[in-house]
Symmetry: none
Subunit: 152 residues, 2 copies
DNA sequence: TCTTTTTCTTACACTATATGACACAACTCT
DNA sequence: AGAGTTGTGTCATATAGTGTAAGAAAAAGA
C-alpha cells in the first residue's frame, strides 16, 4: 500500500483537467498511472486511490447486508461516481464534471495526500476545513483519541 | 529516535531554501537526508522530522475511523500539509512556499532543535516567542508542571 | 599568530516543471 | 451533414527548482 504525503496547490483548466505535480507523481506506483480511481469523498472533496487500493476499500463494504435497505443504499451511493482515470501525456487527470461540481471545484485546487488517498479540494473549501484554532484542535484531539481508547 | 539539540541562525535564499548547518546535519541519520518531513507546527513555526519519526507520530492515528467525520477532520488537520523534503547538494532544504508563508519566513530564520524535532522560525517570531522575563517564566513553570502532576 | 581547512554566503547558470493557449479528434445532438 | 460539446495532445513561455562555483568568514591546527 502506497503511503502518500504532501500538500500541493494546483489549478483545474478549462477542460476540467488537473496536473499531478511531479512530487506526487513520483509517489505513485508506475503501474497505477493509468489505473487510478476517483470518487466523491465524504466531505466536499474528491478522493483518488490507486485501483488496487480502491478495491481494498470496497472490500470493506462486503460485510454489509445487501438485504438491508440502508446498507444497499449506502453501497450504491458509495460507488456512485467512482470512475477510473489516468494520467495523460502532460501528467494531468481529467476530473469528471459531476465530481468537480460536487466538490465545488472551479479554478484553484489543493491536492492533499496522506495514507493511501489523494484528496482533491477546492482551495476555498480546503481552507475552511483546515481553519481551526489550536485550542479547539487540542480539545478535538482529546475527544478523538479518548474515544479511540474506549474502543480498544 | 534521534535526539536533536541546538539553536542555529540562518537565512532563506531567494529560491526559498535554508541551509542546514553542519552542526545540525551531523545529528541527522544519513539515511534521512532525503527523507525528511516538514509541516506546520503550532505557533507559526514549521517542524521538520525524519520520515521515520513522522511515521511514528502518525501511527497514533491508525486506529481512527475514516467513516467518522470528526476522526477524518482530525486526521487531516493533524497531517497539516506534511510534505517530504530532502537536502540538496549544498545541504539546503527547499521550504514549500505555502509553509514559509504560514511561518512568516522572509529572510532571517532560526532553527531550533530538540527531541526529535527541528523547528523552523522566522527570527522575528522566534524572538517574540522567547521574550519572557524570569519571573513570568518561573510562574509558567509552576502552572505547567503542576498541571502535569495532576494528570498523572 | 599564521596557515590550513572547513563552513557559510552569495551569485549565477542551467534544468525541470507548471501553465495557458491552441489545434484537432471523437462523440452527441439536432 | 453540421454545430456544438467533450476529450486529448502539443507547444511556448514563465516560473520554480536544482546545481555549481568563488570569495568571505569562521574554526581548527601548528
Amino acid at each position: 500500500m502506497p503511503k502518500f504525503i504532501g500538500e500541493f496547490d494546483g489549478k483545474i483548466d478549462a477542460k476540467g483537467r488537473i496536473v499531478i505535480p511531479v512530487g506526487l507523481k513520483k509517489q505513485l506506483p508506475e503501474d497505477s498511472f493509468n489505473h487510478l480511481v476517483i470518487n466523491r469523498g465524504f466531505d466536499k472533496c474528491l478522493v483518488i486511490y490507486t485501483r488496487n487500493d480502491w478495491e481494498t476499500e470496497t472490500q470493506k463494504l462486503e460485510g454489509l447486508d445487501s438485504f438491508n435497505k440502508l446498507d444497499r443504499q449506502f453501497i450504491r451511493i458509495f460507488n456512485n461516481g467512482a470512475t477510473e482515470i489516468g494520467l495523460d501525456t502532460a501528467n494531468r487527470v481529467l476530473i469528471p464534471k459531476k465530481l468537480s461540481q460536487y466538490a465545488e471545484i472551479e479554478s484553484d485546487v489543493v491536492l492533499y495526500a496522506y495514507n493511501n488517498k489523494i484528496e482533491v479540494w477546492s482551495k476555498k473549501n480546503y481552507e475552511s476545513q483546515m481553519a481551526i484554532d489550536p485550542d479547539e484542535f487540542s480539545k478535538m484531539a482529546e475527544t478523538v483519541m479518548s474515544k479511540k481508547k474506549n474502543d480498544e
